[in-house]
């Protein structure tokens, strides 16, 4: 009767019986119960078949449809749990950041207070020169636009990633000898943490002559501290890690493409390219859409790799030399980290967060609806 405490009152009628059965089961005498159990269902199943999911209702209540019983309240509660978590921890922060767009938020031992700030957060981001008059004494308008460009630049790596993943999975799908082994190896980057991958590539791109890349090419470039090379160090690290996931996803999708279509096509004398274009590609379209949604999100919200490879120097330049590794998420992090410096910081961080959200959400929704349509027709 371990669970009995949680079973609502509506079940009480059946309780003595439950007790009996449970102890019997506990003693491992299930087979004794079987003949009995087989007799009851006949009539019950017939009733149950009338409405699906009715097993939650005790037998006597089966015919009364859609009534609130203790049982269904419990079911509703269980069903709602993840939603409660989502509302508490995902949407509540969103509401506060919405307020923080227009107000200076101060949190101390007295609680939280909001003061209308006359669009300072927006002005910080959009009015050239406004940042100079704040405690930061930097023009965040130009930094923001630069950061936006860099975010798009670094984020676009996700498209390259997608193509590489597709290519790799097609190679694996040729089922040549050892393709299983390649598949296993290709997935490894996905289980490496961004911290280790970033460290690895920082090590590769070490600026001293004994750095690996410098040794290979005989150069003496300070890769992580040169305006033109900084983004590439991040892009290469992303390309090292990110295709692993897509490869596995595409591999599964390719295996699900209808074999009969290929056979029919080969009878029609279709060449490899046509095969790919007319059979394979439509077959894996849902996966492409899914990976695009995930990729755009990951690309525009890039933080880990950029922040770990090109760490903030001790100078006032945030996001590496010339802000070349300053993704928007890093800018948000910077404002949040320095919220004590000026009350406008959190407002500015909220503004950028909402801009990022408005960039990511519509694309995701659009791709998702396209995908839905495809799945239906």
């Amino acid at each position: 009767m371990r669970e009995n405490g949680c079973v609502p009152a509506a079940e009480n009628a059946a309780e003595p019986q439950e007790d009996l059965f449970d102890t019997a089961v506990a003693e491992g005498q299930e087979e004794l119960l079987d003949p009995e159990a087989a007799e009851i269902p006949e009539e019950l199943l017939a009733l149950a078949a009338e409405e699906e999911g009715s097993i939650a209702l005790p037998p006597s209540k089966v015919l009364r449809k859609k009534r609130w019983t203790g049982q269904s309240v419990l079911a509703l509660f269980l069903a709602l749990l993840p939603m409660i978590g989502f509302l508490l921890f995902s949407t509540a922060p969103l509401v506060i950041s919405l307020v923080a767009l227009f107000c200076d938020v101060t949190i101390d031992w007295r609680g939280i207070s909001f003061d209308w700030n006359n669009f300072d957060g927006f002005r910080m981001i959009f009015v050239p020169g406004f940042g100079n008059s704040t405690a930061f004494a930097q023009d965040f308008s130009s930094i923001f636009w630069k950061s936006l460009g860099i975010t798009f630049w670094l984020g676009s790596t996700q498209f390259v990633t997608l193509l590489i993943a597709l290519g790799l999975s097609l190679l694996i799908a040729t089922k040549c000898r050892g393709s299983k082994l390649f598949q296993i190896v290709f997935f490894v980057p996905h289980i490496c943490s961004s911290v280790s991958v970033a460290f690895m590539w920082k090590w590769m791109f070490l600026g001293e002559p004994q750095g690996i890349i410098n040794t290979i090419f005989g150069t003496e470039i300070r890769w992580l501290d040169t305006t033109s090379t900084i983004p590439w160090t991040i892009i290469i690290a992303v390309i090292w890690q990110a295709p692993a996931y897509g490869t596995v996803m595409f591999k599964a999708a390719l295996a699900n493409v209808d074999e009969a279509q290929y056979e029919a096509a080969s009878l029609d004398g279709v060449n490899t390219w046509q095969r790919f274009w007319y059979i394979t590609l439509p077959g894996i379209m849902p996966t492409i859409f899914y990976l695009l949604i995930a990729g755009i999100g990951a690309g525009l919200l890039l933080y880990d790799m950029a922040a770990l490879i090109v760490t903030d120097p001790w100078t006032s330049t945030i996001g590496g030399r010339d802000h070349m590794a300053l993704t928007l998420m890093r800018l948000v992090y910077y404002f949040n980290d320095n919220r004590g410096a000026d009350s406008v910081a959190l407002s500015a961080a909220s503004v950028i967060s909402w801009i990022l959200f408005l960039l990511v959400a519509p694309v995701s929704v659009w791709l998702y609806s396209r995908r839905e349509k495809r799945a239906e027709g």
Binding site: Q183, Q210, L359
Partner: protein, 334 residues
């Protein structure tokens, strides 16, 4: 054997218009090619076979190229970790150390900045922190999601289908952009500078998990659950004794997905855990401060980084199939 290989080369060279051949990378190709040659087809099939081989060589060339690209950085890290400090050159990378040493791996546990303060090596402490910070939300969240999916697919309450649609639709909105600004909210709750923001939200499960588990539950016939009910099991009894055991593969997939994500997560640890208290750090946070933890030499840092990867890689080596399934299937929405 050599003759066979030469013959294949010659064959392949004749194949017209196969640009793929130029991608041939040489020695590595020989083994599989030779194997194919061993089962030599009758003459009539030779032409087709040539083309076949050329494309196959290209496939291998590309696969091996990517493998090398993946291995190169790991190899350099490995080499650096076993190169004694005095052997490291200032002008060129030491590809093959003359006197490789495992001392750096021992140093991880000895020359540790916070060893005295923590009473054990920072990485070990970090690993233990990671374990509870990851396992608690993943396991609890999985059970909660499992129960929720159970309610959506096997229990009945008014508005069940509508609620599922609404819940799932809302959870599809990508809120990742608010990951950092959420700090404000946790600050209000007084949870910052602690592990609570890393642990508590996960314990409520996610609609993503619910969706996936619900899909899996649908393959379980209702009759089995009804039979259990008639046997006298309550709502929770049916779930824990019948449905959950039947859906173990789905739970394992979701567990691996959550565990790998939690083990590797960095941003939230960096955001919420106190930077000055190493006893709160997760493994990844400790690793991100590797310069601070191991001040002495570079090879110890490389060794630490590799050691940090070992647990997941070993786990992956033991059950690749579960991993690949879990992660590829676990993350998919809809």
């Amino acid at each position: 054997m050599e003759n066979v290989v030469k013959a294949i080369r010659a064959n392949a060279a004749q194949a017209e218009g196969s640009e793929a051949l130029q991608a041939e990378s040489g020695a590595a190709m020989q083994a599989p090619a030779a194997q194919e040659a061993a089962a030599k087809p009758p003459r009539s099939a030779v032409h087709r076979n040539k083309k076949f081989k050329a494309s196959r060589i290209a496939v291998y060339a590309l696969l091996i190229f990517w493998t090398l690209f993946l291995f190169l950085p790991v190899y350099t890290l490995l080499v650096s970790s076993i190169t004694p400090a005095e052997e490291a050159s200032a002008t060129t990378f030491t590809w093959f150390p003359k006197h490789p040493t495992l001392q750096p791996y021992a140093d991880i546990f000895i020359h540790d900045q916070y060893l005295d303060q923590l009473g054990m090596p920072t990485l070990v402490y970090g690993f233990l922190n990671t374990m509870w910070i990851t396992l608690v939300p993943v396991v609890v969240g999985l059970i909660v999601s499992g129960l929720s999916a159970y309610a959506y697919s096997k229990l009945d309450f008014p508005g069940r289908k509508l609620l599922f649609k609404i819940a799932f639709g809302i959870s599809m909105v990508p809120l990742g952009a608010f990951g950092i600004i959420s700090y404000l909210y946790y600050d209000l709750l007084g949870w910052t500078e602690s592990a609570l923001p890393l642990v508590i939200p996960g314990m409520f499960g996610s609609m993503n998990m619910v969706f996936f588990l619900k899909m899996y539950y649908e393959t379980v016939p209702n009759e089995i659950l009804e039979a259990a009910r008639i046997d006298g099991r309550g709502t929770f009894g049916v779930f824990f004794s019948i449905l959950m055991p039947l859906a173990v593969p789905a739970f394992i997939a979701q567990f691996i997905f959550g565990f790998v994500g939690g083990y590797n997560s960095y941003l939230n640890a960096q955001l919420y855990l106190p930077q000055t208290e190493p006893n709160t750090w997760t493994l990844q946070l400790a690793l991100s401060k590797v310069e601070e933890v191991f001040r002495t030499s570079v090879n110890v840092r490389c060794a630490a980084m590799l050691l940090g990867m070992v647990p997941l890689v070993v786990l992956y080596g033991c059950c690749q199939k579960l991993f690949i399934e879990g992660i590829s299937v676990g993350g998919v929405k809809g």
